[in-house]
Subunit: 322 residues, 6 copies
C-alpha cells in the first residue's frame, strides 16, 4: 500500500541552466518594486516539471552553485518529482533572474548568469546511459548560447540520443540577451537536421528559414529535418506539421496572470502526450491546454497542470471548486 | 446628541456556522501560496452584516469555539453592528475555511468544519422569543448539512417562525463538500413548503424541481410553497416570481475582484428592501446592486454595501471620489 | 443558553480622542519604512478596552469623522465589547497617529489631530445620565490639551461625577506635542483637587508638585486631594499611596515587544480591581501585571490582558501553550 | 567622462503642495485595508518629475514639514533629478494623502492638509530670479485653494512670469475637497486671461465657460486668453486648440493599473515637447503617450515615462523585454 | 561526475503525522495576527529531515490528504532528501497546525487534526521490509495518541524492529491537547521496556517514573529498559545515561528566534551521530548543538543544521559570513 | 528664504562599487527566505551619505549599469544629498548583493559583482580637479580587489590627493570573497605609506602588521605612515593613535538591529568631525556614536545619523520621542 519515493522510470531527459528568480511584486519600473519573491526558473527544468506532472518520469541535468540558491533549485525540482542530476559547482555561483512587470502589459527580465555555475555545464556532466535509456531528449537553444562547453554538451547529447534512437526535441526559446539573431540562426540551421521535434514561434522559426506564412514556414522547417514542427501563436493557438499533415488548435479562453512559462508548458504537454502514445490531434490539444493553463496563475512553473487540471479549462462554470 | 451602542430593534434573525477564513494572496495552486490573510466567513452572518449595513437590525445565532477564532468572529460581527448570540463551545474548535484562487478564473475553497463548534448548533441554542419578535427568519441549506442537531435546529426555527407569522427566507447555497445533490434535494423538497422566500441559482433550483427554463423553474418552485422565488444568474442578473408576477433585473457592469459573497449580498439586499417595504421592482434592483457591489472588492463580506454605496454603481464617471 | 450582545452594565465611563494609527513595520527613520499597518489608538479607549477585558462594563464617548477611519474606530471598539457613544462629525476628519521605531530603543509618534473630529468633543456630547449611573469616570490630561471645548467637557464631566459620588480617575499622560509643561502643570494643579485616583510617572507627578523622591512626591500629590496616588516606574514596577499607606509592587519580567499602551493597561488593571472590590495589594499587583502584559505583544491595545491571561505571567515554564 | 550631479539648466519652474501618501494595498473599503505603502504625491511635483524624465531641467518650489515626511519628499524629488527648493517649515507638518480603491473601478483619496506646511506657501518663498530665468512656469488650480498666502503666491508668480515673457501653464486639476465649483470658477475666470497654456477635462473647462461640445468649449476658453487649450478625454484621447487650429489625438490602448497621475503626465509630455520645440502634432501625441504610460503601473509618478519608454507603447509585441 | 537523485540507503525509518502549518507573523493574540505563512510541521518528519541533513538516509511514512496540503508535505520532504512513503488518503484531509506567539515569550499552537488523514495511519501502512532493513526506528508518543489504528501501528513497528535487531528510539513529545498525563503515562510505561533510546524532558520523564532529580530520574527510566536515556533541560543543556555512565553537556549560547523543533533537532543530532558511530561524548555534544542551532532561525525544521553548520556555533566572531 | 538644491561645497571625495541589495526578511537559511526587500549598499557610498548627513559636502564616483538598479543607486544617493558622479556603463550590469541572516547571530552576504559595471571603474573615471579641490579622499581596500583597472584608479587617486595635500583616508574593509589575506596584506602594505588616516579592526590591522595587542598594533601601523590609526573593537568601542597619543572610547549601549554598516558609520563620523575641526576626543566619540547609531535600525545606510540624532543616544529615557 505504501509507494516508494522513486518516481516512474525516466522517459525524458533534459538539461540546461536553472536560476534563482527574484520576482517583483509591484507593476512599474523595477527600481520602485521594493518587494520581491524568491523562486527559481529555467526553461528545461520547467519542461521536466511539466512532463512529471503529466505522469512521465523526467530527469534534469545541470550545474548549480554550492550555495543556498543551488540548494533551493535542487530541493524544489526534487520535490516536484524530477530526477535531479545537479552538480554543485564549488567555483561558480548559481545564476540569477530578476523578473518584473514594466507595465501591466510588458514583462521585464534581467539575468545574472555570466560565468554562473549553470553556464559551466559540459559534455562530461551528461551520463550517456541516462540519455540512452530514455525515450526523449529535450533541449533548448538557450544552452548553446551559454558557453562553449555548454554548446558542446548539447552537440554531444544529441549525438548520443540519435545513436540510441531516442527522440530529439528542441525548443528554440530565443534569448536576445545571450546572442544575436544571426548567431542563433547559424547554430539552429546547423542543428535542426538532427532534431525530431521542433518548437518555435513564427519569429523564432524565421531565424532558421526566412519564409512568410505559418504553413509555408512549417513546411520549410520540416524539409530541414524535423518530423514534427510546432508553431506557436501565443494566445491565438498553435499549429503542427507532422508527417506532412498540418493541424491547427484553437486557443483556450483564460484570464492571463503571468505569461512566462507558457512555451515550456506547451512543449511539456506535447511531449507527455507523445510519451503516452496519444493521437496527434489530442497531443496538440493537450499542448495548447497546458500552455493556456500555465498563464492562469503566478510563477514560471508553479502553474503547470496535472492531467486532472486540464479538464478545469473546459468547465469554467460556477467559479467555485467545492 | 450621543447615540447608544445598541443598534435598531432586531428585525431579521439568522443562524448558522461562521468560520475563520485563511485567504491565499497568490493566484495558483494553494501549495505555492505562502501568504495568507486571516478573516472570517459564513453565509448567514454575511446576510446579517448585509442587512445591518442597509439599515435594519439583524441578529446572528451560532456556536464558535472557546478560542481565538471564536473571539475573532464575535468581535467582528459585533463591530459590524450585528446582534451576536454566539455560544462559545468549550468542547469543539471554531471551524476553518481556506480560500484561494486556483487560477484567475477559479476559486478554490476547503473546509475544516467536521465536528466544529459551529456544527454542534442545536435547537436549544435558538431563543424562541428572539425569533418570534423578529420580522424575518433567514436560513441557508448549509446548516441542515452540518449535523443532525443543526438540521433539527433549522426545523425548529422554521416552525417557530411560521407559528408567529414571521417571514421565512431560505437560500439554497448548495455545498457539495457537505452532502450529495440527492441528499440536499430531499431535504429541500421536504422544507420548501414552509418557506416564504426562496433564493437559488438555476442549478440549485433544479435540486428541488427538475424543470428546464428559468420561468418554468420558478413557476414549479412557487407551486411548492414560496410566495417569492428568486433565481440568480450570476453576472447575468436575476429574476423574481412573486405572487405570480415575473420580473427580471439587468445586471450592473462592474469589474469583478472577488465573486465570493455575491449571493449573500443579493439576499441581504432583497430582505432589507422587503423590511423597508420597498416596491417589488426596487427590491429586486437593490438585490442585484448589492450582489454586484459585493464582487467589486476583496473579502466575502467586507464589500457589502451601505445604502449610500449603491448609488456609486450608477456613476462610474471619473473614477476619483474626492 | 444564548447570551445577548449587550455586555454588563456600564461601570466605567471614559471619553477622549481616538485616532486611526499607521504603524511602520520597519525599525529606522520613518521615511524608509515603506510598509504600514492600519489600526487605531487612544489612551482612554485603551483603558475602556482594558476594563472590559477584565470583566467590567465600560463606555467610551468621543467624536470621530464621518469617514472610513471613524467607522474603523467605532466597529473595533464595539467589537471589543465597549459601549461606544461616538458622534460621527460630518465637518472634521478622524485624527491620525503615525507610529514607528526610530531605533530599536526609541518609539517615534506623530499626530495629525489638529481640528480633528476628536478635538471638537464638547460638554454637550457627554450624557450626564451615563456618568451619574456609572461607578468610575476616567479621564486623561490629553483631552484638556486638545481644544477649549474639550477642556470644558472634562471640567463638566468631573463636576457631574463628583456631584453623583462617582469615583474620578485621572491619568496625567503628558503629551509635549500638545502643550508645554507649564500649561499642563497649571491645568493639573487646578484639577487635581477634584480627583480621587491619580496615575502618573515620576516626571509627570513633578508637573504638579516639584518634589524629589517617589515617596515624597506621592505624599505631596495626595495632599492636593487624591485618595489614591499611583506612581509608575516603567519596567521598575510601581508604588501606590492610598489612605496614607504606601505599597510597592515588583515588576514582572517580560520580553518587551511594544511599550506603547503600558500605562493605559496599568490604569485599566487598577480600576478593574477597584470595581471588583479587590484588596489594595492585589489591586496594585493586577495593575502591574496588566502593564507588563501589554508590552509583550504588538499594538497599543491588542495585547491588553483578560483575567485568565494574567496568570500566564507567573508560569513562563515551557513556552508552548498547548 | 564623469558627469556632475547638477542636471540641465532649469527650464520649467513649478510650485505647490506635495504630500506624503499612504496607499492601501487591498481593494475595498479603506477600513479593511490593513496594509499601506508610504510614498508621496503632488500634482506639480509630478509634472516636474515628468518633465525631468523627458530631458528638461525642472525646479519645484514648496514647503514641507521639518519632519520625516518632508525629508522623504525632498530626497525623492532630488533623487528624480528635480531642482528642489523646499522650505522645511518648523511650525507645520507635511500634509498627507490616503489613497485606496473603494472598488476595482473607484479610487478613494482623502487628505490631511489643512494648516499643513504645504498650505503655508507664500509669495516670498518664490525666488523671482528662478522664475525669470526659466522658460515655463507651471501652476495648478489646487494651490490657490490651499490658503490665502498660497493664492497670493500663484498671483505673484504668474505676474513675474508674464513680465519676463515666460510661458504660463495652468492645469485646472479641480479638487472638490478644497473648494466649490463656484469658488474655483471665479478664480479661474479671473486668472485665465494671464495664462498661455490651459489643461482641463471637459468638466473642468465648464467651470470657466459653460459651453457644450469640446470644440465649442475649447473655442470659448481660447477667447479668454490661452493660446493653447488642451481638453483631455481620459481613455478617449485629447484635443488641442492652438492658434485657432484644432487637433485630436487617438488614445493609446493600455491596461490600466492606476489612473492617478495621468493628467500630470499629459501636462509633462506636452510641456516637455514644447520646450524641445516639437511640432504641434508630435507634442499632442507625446502628451497622450505620457498620459497613457502613466496609468500602466502603480504609483502617481513612479510610472512617468522617459523618452525611450514612449516607444514601448507602439510595440506591445511579445510581452517580454529581453 | 553526475550524482543520482536517490540519496544514501535508508538507515532511519520514522512515521507519524505531518501537518500543514499556518504561522502568524505578528506577536500577540492570534485574532489580531492578520498575516500567516504556510509551511508544514511534524515531529517525526522533522527528525527525518534532521538526520538526512546530517548525512544519513531517512524515510518517513505517513498519511496525508489527497489535497494541496498533502502535496505540499510530500514535495517539501522529498525536496529535503527524505524517502517519503506517504499515502494520499482520499477520504480525509491533511491535518493543520496554527502557530503564533501569544507574547514574545509564549508560543501558541492549535491543531485541526481530528479525523485527519494523518490520524488514520495504520499498521498496514508500514512496509515491514523497510523497517527490517534500517538501523534505527524512531517514533514519538504523539502517534499513539492520534487514534487506535495509529497506536496499533506504533506497537507493530516496534515489534518488527525489535525482531530484526533494529534500534528503537522513542521521543516522549507529550501533547496535552491529545491525551491526559495519566493516559500518556500508561502507554509510555507499557512501551518503554521495548525501547533502546528514550528522549524526554524532566517533566516528560516523570510521566513514566515519578522520581525527583535528573540523575535519579534517568536511573529509574534506564531500569525500565532503555540503554540510552536522554534528559533535555532546554536552554540549560542535557544529560545522557548510557550503559550506566552519566554525561552532561553544556548548552550553546545562541539568540533564540523560534524554540519549536529544538527537541526534534536534538534527537536527530543524537541519532545521526549514533548512526555515524561517534563517541558518546561527541554524540551528546552534536545533539545539543543541533538543538541549539534549530532555535536560531524561524521555522520548525527549516533551521535544522547540516554538519558544516554545527561549527558555526563555535565561532560567532565577526557576525558576517563572507 | 528658498534654498537651492546644490548642497555645500564638496569636502570629501570617495569612490568604489555600490550594488543593488536584496535583503531577506526572514531569519534562517536563505533558501527559505521567500520575501526580499530591494535596496542598495556600498561601503564608500555609505561613508558619503554619512558625511553628508553630518553636514559636509560629499561626492561619490562610481560606475553602475545602464539599468534599473543603476538608476536606483543614482537616485537614492542623489536624494541623500551626495554629489553623484556615476557613469552608466552600457556594457555591464550593476552588481548585486544578497543579504540575509543565517541565524539571529550571523549575517550572510553573497555578491554578484564579477564583471559588474562597478568593477570596471578606472582611473579615467576620476576627475582630478574634483579630488584636488576636496579636503579628504576616502577609499576602501575593497576597490583594489575588484579589478586591475579599479586598483589602478585607487593608486591614481591617492597620488592626486597627496600631490594636492588632500587628506587620504583608507578603511581596510577586508572582504574574503574578493581576495586572500595574503593578497590583501601585500596591497595594504604597499599602500599604507601614502595614507593619512587608517581604519581597521584588529584582525584587519594584522593583515598589515602581525603584532599582538591593540596598542602595539596601532603603534606598528602608525610607524608605516598614517598619522591617525583607528582600531575598532565592534561593540567594545574603539581606540585612536594620533600623533603618538592614544585615546580610547567607551562603547554606547544600544540594541543591535542590523550590524552591517557600522564600520562605514564610524569612518563617516570621524571624517565629518575632522572636517569640522573638532577636538580629537570629540572626534573619536562622534565616530563611536555614529557606529552605535547605525546598528540600531535596519539597513546598511538608512540608519546613518544626523548631528541631532547623536544626542538621542545619550537620553534613552522614556522611549517615546513626542
Amino acid at each position: 500500500m505504501t509507494g516508494p519515493t522513486t518516481g516512474p522510470t525516466t522517459e525524458l531527459v533534459t538539461f540546461g541552466e536553472t536560476m534563482a528568480l527574484f520576482a517583483a511584486r509591484r507593476t512599474g519600473p523595477m527600481r520602485f518594486a521594493r518587494d520581491f519573491d524568491l523562486g527559481l526558473g529555467g526553461a528545461e527544468s520547467n519542461v521536466a516539471i511539466g512532463v512529471a506532472r503529466l505522469g512521465h518520469g523526467a530527469a534534469w541535468v545541470g550545474r548549480v552553485g554550492a550555495d543556498e540558491f543551488g540548494d533551493l533549485i535542487r530541493s524544489t525540482l526534487q520535490g516536484e518529482g524530477v530526477d535531479v542530476r545537479a552538480i554543485a559547482d564549488p567555483d561558480a555561483p548559481t545564476g540569477l533572474m530578476i523578473k518584473g512587470r514594466r507595465t501591466a502589459d510588458l514583462i521585464d527580465v534581467r539575468y545574472y548568469r555570466k560565468d554562473s555555475a549553470g553556464s559551466r555545464l559540459c559534455a562530461a556532466d551528461l551520463d550517456p546511459e541516462l540519455i540512452r535509456s530514455a525515450r526523449v531528449l529535450h533541449v533548448s537553444a538557450i544552452t548553446p548560447a551559454l558557453s562553449g562547453s555548454a554548446r558542446e554538451a548539447v552537440r554531444h547529447a544529441i549525438a548520443e540520443a540519435r545513436a540510441a534512437g531516442v527522440l530529439v526535441s528542441l525548443d528554440v526559446n530565443y534569448r536576445r540577451a545571450l546572442w544575436t539573431p544571426a548567431e542563433a540562426g547559424a547554430w539552429l540551421r546547423e542543428t535542426v537536421g538532427d532534431v525530431d521535434v521542433l518548437f518555435a514561434t513564427e519569429a523564432e522559426g524565421r531565424l532558421i528559414a526566412d519564409v512568410e506564412g505559418a504553413t509555408e514556414l512549417a513546411g520549410a522547417l520540416a524539409k530541414l529535418g524535423p518530423r514534427h514542427v510546432l508553431i506557436k501563436f501565443g494566445a491565438e493557438g498553435a499549429m503542427e506539421l507532422s508527417d506532412g499533415v498540418e493541424r491547427r488548435a484553437e486557443p483556450y479562453t483564460v484570464t492571463e496572470v503571468d505569461p512566462v512559462g507558457a512555451g515550456d508548458a506547451f512543449a511539456a504537454g506535447w511531449l507527455a502526450d507523445w510519451l503516452a502514445g496519444a493521437e496527434p490531434a489530442q497531443r496538440l490539444s493537450t499542448a495548447c491546454a497546458a500552455g493556456a493553463f500555465a498563464v492562469t496563475s503566478q510563477g514560471d512553473w508553479e502553474s503547470l497542470p496535472r492531467r486532472a487540471d486540464l479538464s478545469l479549462l473546459r468547465r469554467p462554470a460556477d467559479g467555485v471548486s467545492r
